[in-house]
């Protein structure tokens, strides 16, 4: 991990990484799940999740600042070698699953809409190889890719809006809180799967920021805010253009938007272009999540394992995981709406909050090497 501490990410890159982390799965799968639960209030649940994330991020930033360096050393200092290792391993497993859901976002798009005859396993293996190469190149490469990813995501969103604006009917979003306020709050757990990814990644990535720790809060908010606004635009357009019942009918709601968008009668179909624009952000998300899984495992293990083997090991582990999760689409939908929200909230929010608690209870251990906020 000492080596990894040398990895430095610029402020803009950190913002674009956070924005990419929330976007991919959120527009593809989360909106469908939310529409199935709260119908036309999907965007409201998404907003609740984003605001909750915004409120929780300062706690995570506080913890990262107190650490004064890489996460791994800090957690071990706080919890001791074995318990710290276990917590790191739990984080790593979370990121492994996060990678699997991110990878499935990409592979299911291609498999269900563009290349339906090709066996799903081919996409799983091919995409994992691509992401593995990205992890091998390192976080800085992923950070540079994320800038391109955000630009492409912006273009994708603009092209979607331009192609569907004439079908935009805001009354589809009315009446607000059609299912009541409490169900909207409860359903936000589905959207937390995406917001939580930012929270967990913030803890792991903030120590690599070149910016002063005093600006970390702003970086996180900008990242989550930028990605969140893009996700909300999709959520609102999906409801207002397709209608909540149509969004709920499909596993990959954003591809229905792509099917419903047309730029005049001359470019009446541009799903392929949209998927290409979409891919950069999702690949960034996949690389960052797998990178975090590998790095945290490296720190968690009591013995030294060459990083290359760890990358290959995680890739080999997640191939069957992605396949098992994604091959049965209905099972995957259930996983995303039930198991994954609970696991995400417990691990990506729960563990950092637990660490905050320990840091408060053990101020001496927590303060060692803490960084002054600027």
């Amino acid at each position: 991990m000492k080596q990894k501490a040398k990895v430095k990410i610029g402020a803009l890159q950190l913002i674009t990484i956070f924005a990419s982390l929330i976007f991919g799965k959120a527009i593809g799968f989360t909106n469908g799940g939310l529409a199935r639960t709260v119908g036309r209030d999907a965007w409201a649940s998404m907003t609740v999740a984003l605001l909750t994330g915004m409120l929780l991020l300062p706690a995570i930033v506080w913890l990262a600042r107190r650490g004064g360096g890489p996460l791994i050393a800090y957690i071990k200092r706080l919890l001791g070698r074995w318990l710290g290792g276990l917590v790191l391993l739990l984080f790593a497993v979370y990121f492994g699953f996060a990678f699997a859901t991110s990878a499935n976002t990409m592979t299911l798009h291609i498999s269900d809409y563009l290349m339906t005859e090709t066996p799903f396993a081919v996409f799983v293996v091919g995409y994992t190889l691509l992401v593995t190469y990205g992890v091998y190149l390192g976080l800085e490469v992923a950070a540079r890719l994320s800038v391109l990813g955000l630009i492409m995501t912006g273009l994708l969103t603009i092209s979607m809006m331009a192609g569907s604006f004439d079908k935009f009917n805001y009354t589809q979003m009315l009446p607000m809180f059609d299912h009541g306020v409490l169900p909207v709050l409860a359903a936000s757990s589905i959207a937390h799967t995406d917001v939580a990814m930012v929270a967990a990644a913030a803890l792991a990535l903030l120590p690599h920021s070149v910016g002063p720790p005093g600006r970390w809060n702003r970086l996180c908010w900008w990242g989550l805010g930028t990605g969140g606004i893009l996700v909300l635009v999709w959520s609102i357009f999906e409801t207002a253009v397709l209608g909540p019942d149509v969004v709920a009918q499909y596993l990959i709601a954003c591809m229905q938007m792509a099917r419903a968008a047309e730029l005049s009668i001359y470019l009446h179909r541009y799903e392929m272009i949209m998927v290409v624009l979409f891919a950069y952000g999702v690949v960034t998300q996949s690389v960052v999540t797998l990178y975090c899984a590998v790095t945290l495992t490296e720190g968690a293990l009591p013995w030294r394992v060459p990083r290359g083997w760890l990358i290959l090991g995680w890739a080999a582990l997640t191939v069957p995981l992605q396949f098992l999760l994604g091959n049965d689409r209905d099972r995957y939908g259930i996983f995303l709406e039930t198991v994954w929200p609970a696991a995400s909230i417990a691990l990506a929010y729960g563990l950092p909050l637990f660490l905050c608690l320990v840091a408060l209870l053990r101020p001496a251990a927590a303060a060692q090497g803490s960084t002054k906020s600027g």
Partner: protein, 401 residues
Amino acid sequence: MRRRRWAAVTLLTVTLLLTGCWDLREMNHLALVMAVGIDKSDTPGRLQVTIQVARPSSGGKGAGPAQGGGQPVYIATADGDTIFAAIRNLAQFTSRRIMWAHNNIVIIGESLAQDDITPVIDFFTRNQELRMRTWIAVARGSKARDIVTSATGMEEIPAVSISALLRYAQLPGEAVRTELGDVLDAYLAHDQTPVLAALELKPRGLKPSGEPQQEERVQQAVLSGTAIFKDTHLVGYTEREVGRGLLWIRRQMRNATLSVPCPGNKGGSMAVEIRRPRISARSFVSGQTPTIQLRVETLAWLAEQDCPTPNLDTLRLKQYTEDALAKEIAADMRAAVKFLQQEVRSDAGGFARLLHVQQPAWWRVNARRWDELFPRIKTSFSVTVKIRKMSLYTRPMMPSR
């Protein structure tokens, strides 16, 4: 250097694996469907699929011999227990693989629509090749097959002509135009009722002949009102006035040309073109029955005056026309509501959706009783018309003698 050479060799080797994949589909192996018609088969319980496929290279010349050689389209039909099975049966005799990505329109036969449109909506919105913006219509008074096989319109490919009819349906302003996505939304939503555009074959085309008055009549697909559904089956069609009224009520009117009688009841009509209408709907609940108030404000252009009006100056003529037009629009809306509430008993006007949005508390209590309450909903209309132009004229037609 050596490593780079190996990397280059590896990359070149990998390219050998990129020459094809499972989803390889050559253009000349594809049958690009331009229009599809779905009917009930003559065999009970089966569905019949008729497709109109573009002949990509022929453009009417040098086409295959199987059927209609020289025609720009190839038409085929097959039946099956399901639409999917019927399409698979088509593959038994068509030389190319059917591709839906460029389909212009889905047409549902009247008989099937009267039974249930579920199979059509399900198949075509489940299929990843089709767009949600594909047009969808009902074949009024005939089988879908009759329309798919007709040589209609000015374009080489008839389906392109039919889709243009729907694209420009706003101009006559008498019928809705419907896309697959809209119909799926209405089908799935508990507060909406699907409506579909209706296409009818009418002998409107003329085939020139050497002899005067001896032209041969040709059947053409014509936009013919709106097909009204209740739940999932067809229950009726709108005619001209009711069709216009329905568009006003659904707040989908964009453009229309209406006729009003000339002043003084001396015969003749004036044509007025509706421009930029603004339609709003409000609902009120007092007691058990809600009232819906529709308010129309529209600009209009006087486009034609077939009668001289020597006794009216411009201002008075405009005033007369505005009043007459407002009455006509209100009468259209009234006729549409009467048709929906008393004849077909279908909420095609979208009142349920309006009440759900504006009166959510009332809707939550009464949603289950909607079918019983709908015929009793009260309506009121307020129409304001402003004539801003008399096309290029500045004063009414006034002959010198």
